[in-house]
């Protein structure tokens, strides 16, 4: 960890360490898929053997910010050693398949895992849709949003009259919190909009290469989010840390374990200080 003006990095155990601890050999990983090129998603592919391919989104290889890597390309934000000696595959979403209005690819060819074109945050941004049972899916949202309040609530997934357990209490403490307590702190209220059906936040234009595309992508993700068959999770989901079992645990069975119900409104706990002001 370092002190910095902007963001600081705190990483003692990386993904390769977690795989090693669970006796999953790195050479058993067929591919690393980058949701997009930003440093907080790209990890260190050079730790993986050359048999692990690297899969990147549309436009990655033709953009001088991303390919080739540094230092070969002094302007690159990505290190060249991520690519050295391994296959780097750029996805093309030209199969004609669409899911929820997003162009899709059937990654394994058996309907178990789809990659979805979801540009806006960056030009190469993609999401994932993993089938965890016959009719249930986990939507891997990457950086389509950086906080759950950017896409909840909506008319399709309104803020409940009563949230249980309360986002201000422990997960296992029987409790509830009325949705109405958020009315006066919700920015929509001052705009004459309905706090129960409007997301708390709007996307930051500084965090989107194309704000228009990012908003269009997020609107489509909101439809997934409203489906009881899909558990939407962004890469930087903070409440997940307290709710979900981490690897080597599995998220399959999330619908019976209640992970989505616990996670959906947990972010409201972030507004504790705002409510007390």
């Amino acid at each position: 960890m370092i002190a910095a003006v902007g963001l600081t990095i705190d990483i003692t155990r990386d993904v390769a360490d977690h795989l090693h601890d669970a006796s999953v050999p790195l050479d058993s990983i067929n591919s690393i898929i980058w949701s997009h090129y930003h440093f907080d998603h790209t990890g260190d592919p050079s730790l993986f053997p050359s048999t692990t391919s690297l899969i990147v989104g549309p436009g990655f290889k033709s953009n001088p910010q991303t390919f080739p890597g540094y230092p070969l390309n002094p302007d690159a934000l990505v290190s060249q050693d991520a690519f050295e000696g391994r296959e780097v595959l750029e996805l093309e979403f030209n199969s004609g398949l669409e899911i929820g209005g997003l162009k899709a690819l059937d990654f394994f060819g058996d309907g178990s895992f789809y990659l979805l074109q979801a540009s806006g945050h960056t030009h190469d941004h993609i999401c994932g849709l993993a089938r965890t049972s016959e009719d249930k899916f986990i939507f891997l949202g990457g950086d389509a949003a950086h906080h759950n309040g950017l896409f909840r609530p909506t008319t399709l997934l309104p803020l409940p009259e009563s949230i249980s357990p309360s986002p201000f209490e422990g997960l296992r403490i029987p409790s509830f919190c009325p949705g109405s307590i958020f009315e006066h702190i919700h920015p929509a209220t001052a705009q004459g909009e309905d706090y129960r059906t409007t997301p708390f936040y709007k996307l930051n234009p500084h965090l989107a290469e194309s704000l228009e595309e990012a908003n269009t992508t997020l609107e489509k993700i909101q439809v997934f989010d409203a489906s009881p068959d899909v558990f939407v999770m962004i890469a930087h989901d903070i409440p997940a840390q307290a709710i979900l079992p981490y690897f080597p645990g599995k998220l399959n069975g999330w619908e019976t374990k209640g992970y989505k119900e616990l996670n959906t409104w947990r972010f409201l706990g972030d507004f504790k200080k705002a409510l007390e002001m």
């Binding site: 600081t8 999953v24 980058w34 998603h41 986990i138």
Partner: protein, 88 residues
């Protein structure tokens, strides 16, 4: 009328999904939004998650995202480090 979501039909295969903690960024929640909620401005740990997706039928394993890099001091490009310190 609500948009309907047509999820793709089941072909007999599923994947196992695990969430892996790929380290944390630390920053203010105000970085991420255009419209602040007054009082929601804490300096927080922001996890970077990776997901292991395993197809048991084919034996294939992939990682969706890889979180943070330990050797960022050595490996981040100068322009990458600049962006870290100046996110906008």
């Amino acid at each position: 009328m609500s948009p309907t979501l047509n999820l793709p039909p089941y072909n007999g295969s599923v994947v196992n999904v695990s969430i892996i903690h790929g380290g944390c960024l630390q920053g203010s929640t105000t970085f991420f939004t255009q419209t602040p909620v007054v009082g929601h401005d804490a300096w927080v740990d922001i996890p970077s998650h990776s997901f292991l997706v395993e197809n048991d039928r084919t034996g294939k394993k992939v990682l969706f995202d890889l979180g943070l890099i330990k050797a960022w001091r050595e490996k981040h490009s100068p322009i990458g480090k600049y962006h870290l310190h100046n996110p906008f």
